[in-house]
Symmetry: C2
Subunit: 340 residues, 2 copies
């Protein structure tokens, strides 16, 4: 049997906390043997939720944290001041090596700030990127960075490409993942100053399968496995994916209700349509890892329910078993020794 | 009767030139009285296409141009060297005030370069933005800039906001259009350096209805009428709109073909679905104007067929009749006199 992965779960973060967080934790330990969960939050509240379930009590432990960081709070202040919040207490478990990973559906800003300041970066990693999986016609692609570091420099994007490649190969299982940089044209000479400067650096790398530029149009077709982007454009891609998907599906449903004929048709296509929508639902793929930290931090959607929470926890097991952080460390150290 | 709008149409640009260009020109003069078209391209070719139609010969004139700028050519060189190309000849008609507008489905790069160097900017306009209409749940929004000026400065974005507002109010007919800047969070303190610097400038404007930041997620819902963005992110939004729409609709169709039950349903919902897809089809809305030039230049999709071409031509009529360029001039001059 492989080693146990210990996951600290923010029981208080997200729109449906603590109910769905607790349910997700119970689901995860029922599905997977090699995991232990620390449910971090207001002890009484969490325990009374937990009391609804029967589960292996050895593998869920409640850790008390009396404060909660709200979504609207300025992240830096919140992390600094709320020392007994579920977020700070949970991240400290990772920092102190009592947990391998921390999962939260709470404030993105606080997760990013806490990840950097409390958990800390792997030596040599300049900026830890947030890297969600996004659905495509062929499966999933990793979008890196989607909001952690605006105004990034070329050297940051180069590290994103390397870390993203490791993640896709060893967590998702895609051999020699195709790595591309988001650009506004396919030709090498196109782009803004950042892309023009980064392109030749990526082209020179021998340890990743760099395939050149990708236009946003081609992202949903799955033409690359790792989509490298500066955080501003990456965030725009992620958010537009969510918004446009929802609006289009809404429009289609509305269109189907427009006549008796189409209403009958709608009843017949409903199951097939549901399956399609599910394939394009980001929550199927768990949360977004913040890569390059000394431990794993995963941000799930604010609207995450038990299924996404449980998927995010299970993702942490693969991350640990595949020794992703050790691989990132080796790769970044190789980069630095070649710089000398 | 109002004045005639004279449109120079690039008969050689785009995937379906000259066939669909000529058809689009004929359709446009059949639909609208107040327009005259110069069909610019290889005379023999264009004339033999025209011979297929009966139309008011007074209102379509063929202007010979022996060269064609290809999509793959580096734009600056192409515009400089191919002096007898349909693009250069057409734009010069606008420059010399023989035409009010130039419409092309050819190379975007060449349209942008030619627009700036041959037609020229309105005095005071720093950068002419490319501003397509994109479909939303409520109608359409103007996305400005979507590819003309990467690495723009705050003062450029401020002018985009003003020009976009004038366009939406007077060409599309939306009173006091809501203007928002693309950002990665709704709060004022969020964003990259460019957005943080631009935000207070937009907030101080009294001549537009600035509503703050817009996250990409909210764009498809139509939460703003004018979406101000730096060209790189704007281009990403436009291209992702196209790609994601096509992939989602493809997936849905595929899903419907997965069982006999859903196949029957698909037949019944087909007309309603087609209507929905049409609403989200950018070609319904004609081309993208390059704003701020001394004359109008419109870029249509490379894949434009007669309908989009004809819609783009008709768009030029409204542009002229509503005196958009005069309004832009006044607005930019007011800005400059207030700077003194």
């Amino acid at each position: 049997m492989s080693e146990i992965t210990r996951v600290a779960l923010d029981a208080m973060g997200g729109d449906y906390a603590p109910v769905e967080m607790v349910k997700g934790a119970v689901d995860a330990i029922n599905k997977e043997q090699n995991v232990k969960i620390f449910l971090v939050g207001k002890e009484e509240l969490v325990k009374s939720e937990l009391a609804k379930y029967t589960y292996d009590q050895e593998r869920i432990q409640v850790v008390n944290a009396t404060e909660v960081i709200e979504t609207a709070e300025p992240p830096v202040n919140a992390i600094r001041r709320k020392k007994d919040s579920s977020m700070v207490v949970g991240m400290k478990l990772v920092k102190n090596k009592e947990a391998d990973a921390f999962v939260s559906a709470g404030s993105s800003g606080a997760v990013l700030v806490g990840g950097q300041t409390l958990v800390g970066r792997i030596k040599g990693v300049e900026r830890p990127p947030l890297a969600p999986l996004i659905p495509t016609a062929k499966g999933v692609s990793l979008l890196i960075d989607c909001g952690a570091n605006v105004d990034a420099r070329p050297s940051h994007l180069v590290q994103f490409a390397k870390m993203g490649s490791i993640y896709m190969e060893h967590v998702i299982g895609i051999k020699e993942p195709k790595v591309a940089i988001v650009n506004i044209g396919a030709e090498e000479e196109k782009g803004n100053a950042l892309v023009k400067e980064t392109f030749p650096l990526l082209k020179n790398l021998t340890d990743i399968n760099f395939t050149g530029s990708i236009e946003a149009r081609d992202i949903p077709y799955g033409k690359a496995d790792v989509i490298v982007s500066e955080a501003f454009a990456g965030n725009v891609i992620l958010k537009l994916y969510e918004g446009l998907g929802a609006v289009l599906i809404g429009k289609i449903k509305e269109g189907m209700m427009s006549s008796l004929r189409s209403k009958i048709g709608a009843l017949l296509v409903k199951p097939a349509l549901k399956e399609t929508v599910k394939e394009f639902d980001a929550s199927e793929y768990g949360g977004a890892p913040l890569l390059g930290l000394r431990g794993l931090v995963v941000k799930t959607h604010g609207s995450a329910k038990a299924k996404e929470v449980s998927n995010s926890i299970i993702q942490c097991i693969t991350f640990k078993e595949q020794k992703i952080n050790e691989k990132i460390m080796e790769c970044i150290q190789a980069e630095q020794s070649s710089d000398e």
